[in-house]
């Protein structure tokens, strides 16, 4: 028992949602405990133990309850049920600017923040040099913190949080506002503290950082612990979960539809396009002659995927329906990186696969098969239908253009890191020339 740093037992946090703000007061003061609310569970039955000196990561999608959990551990929020036991001095970097008084200058805030954490002026005096040199914000230390940029803020906050010799350090995603060099500095500092035997709880979307720093990780989803295991296992599970969740939302179907789909699996792409229609509506341009009904990225077994391994075989499936008789229809896709730069493009004119003599009411499924050799990153797929007018000058009439048809994340190359944007097959010839 003595080697436990943080222990939670059946922790739940429910938010009472009220129709009216005053209902909350009525309920709190009502002697007969009448209910005026309905519950929303941000955390459900969280129980775990963290031993002294352990480094624990917490991952989960937005809204999975990570920040709520940290706030309960640091006792900012009160759990609805269950309890938390912590042993040792906690220092936490939860939200940007937490515990800082915007009117005070940086220096005063160091003392102020320290005092809130329970340190006397003398104790902070001793740590002041370390804090200011780590924060490294120069003369801004004498300015009110309300004038700080978010980068400066996080520098000062991290410097204070890590230099007060806590026994438990809790870091939320706040770090991500710092620049690359500062993040590296923070990582180094955290590793040094871990070596000294500190207990660390670290929340990040950067799964790489989690894997490299945390021995074990907690995977949270919809307020519950999905798993608590070694970090690399958890990170993998997190990715799998993300993909499954995506399938879940795409696949709910009626029983009748399911039967017919067993025979014609490909047709389900037509019956299940609500998600797609919603996503695609962003800056979509249509003239109504034909339109995309659904667009999916699939692996070789025709499962919907969100993550693409390097050199994985992928299918980009387009389902479309024709609303007018047409002579000729061209189709194409763009793969764009997160900055919107076209990385890959192809269309039926290039591939010489235009569809001819289309009849009103007919439907088509088009599969593009390719091997992805994209570098690590997040990509958007834009899709286009058009009627070619003059191929030489690439003049077309747009029929349907969807800037965000689907999104995926390309995983880093496993064997060695890939730089650059494109990789093609190379032949290498080495000639040794003796001196």
């Amino acid at each position: 028992m003595s080697d436990i740093a943080v222990k939670t037992e059946n922790l739940s946090k429910s938010y009472k949602l009220y129709k009216n703000p005053i209902d909350r007061l009525k309920e709190s003061l009502n002697p007969f405990r009448k209910k005026y609310h309905h519950d929303f569970f941000a955390l459900k039955n969280i129980s775990f133990e963290i031993k002294k000196g352990e480094t624990i990561g917490i991952i989960g999608r937005n809204g999975s309850g990570k920040s709520t959990l940290l706030k309960i551990i640091t006792k900012v929020l009160t759990p609805t049920e269950g309890n938390v036991i912590t042993k040792g001095k906690i220092s936490a970097l939860l939200e940007l600017g937490a515990g800082f008084n915007p009117e005070l200058n940086g220096m005063e805030n160091i003392y102020f923040n320290g005092a809130i954490m329970g340190y006397t002026k003398k104790e902070i005096d001793k740590k002041l040099d370390n804090i200011t040199s780590f924060a490294d914000i120069g003369e801004f230390i004498e300015q009110p913190v309300k004038t700080y940029s978010s980068g400066m803020f996080v520098r000062l906050a991290f410097a204070v949080a890590t230099n007060v010799d806590p026994e438990i350090l809790i870091i939320d995603e706040a770090l991500s506002v710092g620049d690359m060099f500062f993040q590296a500095k923070c990582m180094a500092k955290m590793k040094k503290m871990i070596d000294k035997g500190i207990t660390l709880i670290f929340v990040s979307h950067d799964t790489g950082a989690i894997k490299s720093i945390c021995q074990r990780s907690i995977l949270l989803d919809e307020g519950s612990i999905v798993d608590f295991d070694k970090s690399d296992k958890i990170v993998e599970k997190y990715f799998v979960m993300k993909v499954q969740n995506n399938q879940k939302t795409i696949q709910p179907q009626t029983k009748a539809a399911l039967k017919s789909l067993n025979k014609e699996t490909k047709h389900k792409i037509f019956s299940n396009s609500d998600q797609f229609t919603k996503r695609a509506s962003y800056q979509r341009i249509q003239n109504g002659m034909a339109n995309f009904v659904n667009i999916q990225l699939l692996d070789e077994n025709e499962n919907v995927i969100q993550h693409v391994e390097y050199e994985q075989n992928v299918i980009l499936r387009m389902a479309l329906q024709i609303n007018n008789d047409m002579e000729k229809l061209a189709y194409g896709y763009h793969i764009r990186d997160k900055n919107g730069i076209d990385v890959v493009y192809s269309d039926s004119i290039i591939e010489d696969k235009n569809i001819l003599n289309l009849k009103k009411g007919s439907k088509y499924i088009i599969d593009w098969r390719f091997k992805s050799s994209l570098i690590h990153g997040i990509y958007n797929v834009a899709c286009v239908l058009s009627v070619p007018i003059d191929i030489a000058s690439s003049k077309v009439d747009f029929v349907d253009f969807i800037p965000i048809a689907t999104q995926f994340e390309a995983e880093p190359r496993k064997k060695s890191y890939l730089y650059g944007n494109v990789h093609w097959d190379n032949t290498i010839n080495i000639q040794g020339i003796s001196p």
Partner: protein, 269 residues
Amino acid sequence: MKYIRMIFDFVKEIYKNKFVVYQLTKRDYKNKYIGSFLGFIWTIIQPLVMILVLWFVFTKAFNSGPIRDIPFSVWLTIGLVPWYFFSEALTTSTSALQEYSYLVKKVQFQTAILPIIKLLSAFITHIIFIIIGIIILLINDVGFSIYWLQAFYYLIAMFILLVGLSWITSAIQVFVKDTAQIISVILQFGFWLTPILWDFKILPEKYDYILKTNPMFYIMEGYRNSFIYHAPFWEAKNEIIYFWTTTIIILLIGIIIFKKLKPHFADVL
């Protein structure tokens, strides 16, 4: 018994946090006058102007003469001193939790301290006001008396009353934003219902008991008794019992309400 322990623990907690309390109070006081050229001189100007205006209106326009053989200006000032503190402290402390929401929502903090910060910040003004009052006393040849020290007793009594009240109002303010407005309306009534500008002796004696339900009446008379009439505070036995029963009940209600609502603060703010 449980509540006495709670009060004791709380006092200990404040003592432990004295640096934070000191810093917050200092900053809170400075913030009132931040950016103004005259700065803290406003603390003196505001009550002085208030005294001057009221003194002018009542002596020149309404012809109020000395009351119970005391010059009106003295009588007025000593009556205003506690009320001014009471009204400023209660108004500002009611919105304390909202104003310091960054200490409620984002870090672990003993939130019950926050209304007290506002009381302490108003207390600085109060000290200056007392000094002004003493100067006016001396100008009017009402000399020093050992009874002046009784003012400390009344000051502490008022402070405890305010702690109780501000815990109630500040906690409710978080949920019902109208509270601050309601308080300011009540204070306006209170200003006239408390015999600050008029002598309660002008009312028939049978109404005394109504006046005495107002705990601020006790405090205000107490200030006058200490500074002007030099009457010992232990003479008014019934009033002592009544005031302290009321104040302790208010304090307990304050503790209970604050404790009950506290877990919700971070969720609502």
